[in-house]
């Protein structure tokens, strides 16, 4: 009730007054915090280790196909360890959660909220400023990491990257930031909901574990229930596979994994069903130009952004109706 009324009362003045002051302060906090330093070191070491191993692997089979070598730095794995993008799949959520899980509840716990909100700004600016600062921080971190990987590539492979490779890596950078955005929005929502930062962090991690471990299992069972295979006709198999993919794509990690595939393996022509009989058609033939790959990931990117906006809106509504008193 109060919320509806608050939104109906016309407010005067831009909701973004003070936004950049908040962004600057939050970014300075992130960049100087021990927590972020540890995570930055972790991701940097991972990048160097995996890219170095990938470079060695590439050189050992040199002469085969010298195409998109720099992209392989991201994708070639030194079994049994995952490739760099494999690591990114869980390092990015970790960083994103670390950036936001105590964003709002810490203002309550430090008793700074009432004082800050008594300055001439709206709550909108505070919440959105914190979110933007997190996005910018991620952008900064990943940019540095990408440069590190490319630098290592130039040194180890002895050739410069092509424009196409740089373009694809930049798109991957953008997609990675948006993937982080989803998890940041989750953590931000919990930081509004739970007064204890530890609770918010645990809840965020629980959601992430759910989507990365349990959701694939659950979606498999759900697909067999929703589209059971009774006789075994191709139609039935196809229907089940469609369901499975649709369900799996509810997980941000699945969307991100598909984006990675489309961007880093230009020969992939479709992100649809990857059934055995389609796989050949999907992979054979000329590599796609970057613009086509981007078209391929467009729905995925929009999906990630839509999820982010939805979660942020939820956090915003919760925050608007909260009392400033702790």
């Amino acid at each position: 009730m109060t919320m509806v009324r608050a939104m109906r009362t016309q407010r005067e003045g831009s909701p973004w007054t003070g936004l950049w002051a908040v962004v600057a302060k939050e970014m300075a906090d992130h960049l100087s915090s021990t927590r972020m330093f540890i995570l930055e070191m972790l991701i940097a070491l991972t990048a160097v280790g995996t890219a170095y191993n990938a470079a060695s692997a590439i050189r050992s089979v040199a002469g085969l196909e010298p195409k998109f070598l720099f992209l392989k730095l991201f994708t070639v794995a030194d079994e049994p360890f995952p490739s760099f993008v494999g690591f990114l799949g869980f390092l990015v959520p970790l960083i994103a959660i670390a950036l936001a899980f105590d964003a709002v509840n810490n203002e309550f716990n430090q008793h700074t909220l009432a004082r800050v909100l008594s300055q001439p700004i709206y709550r909108d600016a505070l919440l959105f400023g914190k979110f933007l600062a997190g996005l910018f921080t991620q952008f900064l971190i990943y940019s540095a990491i990408w440069l590190l990987v490319f630098g290592l590539g130039v040194w180890q492979l002895g050739i410069p990257p092509t424009g196409e490779e740089v373009g694809r890596a930049l798109w991957l950078l953008v997609a990675t930031v948006f993937y982080g955005g989803v998890w940041m929005a989750v953590a931000l929502l919990f930081s509004v909901r739970f007064r204890q930062p530890a609770t918010a962090a645990l809840a965020s991690i629980a959601v992430w574990l759910f989507f990365s471990i349990f959701w694939p299992m659950i979606s498999t069972s759900l697909a067999t229930i929703l589209a059971p295979i009774r006789i075994g006709t191709p139609e039935e198999i196809l229907a089940q596979a469609r369901w499975l993919l649709a369900l799996r794509r509810l997980a941000p990690s699945q969307l991100y994994a598909e984006i990675v595939v489309a961007l880093l393996r230009p020969e992939v022509r479709s992100l649809g069903l990857v059934l055995p009989f389609q796989l050949e058609g999907a992979i054979l033939g000329q590599p796609l130009p970057l613009s086509q790959s981007v078209l391929l990931i467009w729905p995925h990117l929009t999906g990630l952004i839509a999820a982010t906006i939805l979660l942020f809106a939820l956090a915003y509504i919760l925050f608007q109706r909260q009392e400033v008193r702790a």
Partner: protein
Amino acid sequence: MSPTPVIETRGLTKVYNGLVAVDHLDLTIHEGEVYGLLGPNGSGKTTTILMLLGLTEPTEGEVQVVGWDPRRYPLRVKAQVGYIPDQVGFYGDLTAWENLMYTAKLNGIPRKEAYRRIEEALNRVGLQDVAHRPVRTFSRGMRQRLGVADVLIKNPRVIIMDEPTQGLDPESAREFLDLIRELKGEGRTILLASHLLHQVQAVCDRVGLFRRGKKALEGTVEELALQVLGMSHYVHVEVEKDAPRLAQVVRRVPGVTDVEIHDDCTLWVKSRKDVRPEVAKAVVQAGGRLLRLDVELPSLDDIYAHYFKSEAGETENE
């Protein structure tokens, strides 16, 4: 000079899921006034303050602060009103200076001007030597003073303080009261919620006594004393001898409500105004030899205690 209201509420009401925290409050505070909000715990002082700042949505009623409705124009109100919350908090990892700089930026104050104001504010509250220490190393009193510095950054027309002297040592509290007087001298309007009655009495021009979300009493300390105690002055009379006989005479002085004979040389007189000249005249005319004549105002503590005691009695009778 006709005083203009800086803060005005009409029928201001706040209901928290069925619990009426503030009940049809009409409050008028004039420019340059120091106004004290008093009342037991949970009587709605903090809730009122939050509504004045647009930090809590009123359920009903009208509010105007510095001429604007904080619901529609919160930014204009908050640009001119400084607020020190009851538990004032700062970012512990940032220094005092950095915390104030953040406030300056949120207020859109240009950098050069901000530097000047921060330095001035820190000097004023005596924190210039610890300006570059992280606030987490500050004592409670230091934080409280930083709270004042924080408010001064925006050069506010109105300052609202919620229990600003709690946790201060007597010396700091005294300094704090001096600072409030100084701020009043600069023409700022000050609204002060507190439980420390003698401090309120020392600095406030008017006080409002809150009870269960309503403003039960309002006025200067003298006016409150008249309403609650039926008298406003204690006059202390010392004579050479014959106090009981002189008491008869003093009792007949207009305005005197009660005379208590303390001993043969001392009378305690309660009155509705300052009756010293009349008492002196009466004593001398009756042939008494006056040695000393003092006047004392009843303390806010007495008024408060008396008011809430009699109120409690009334509710029991209901």
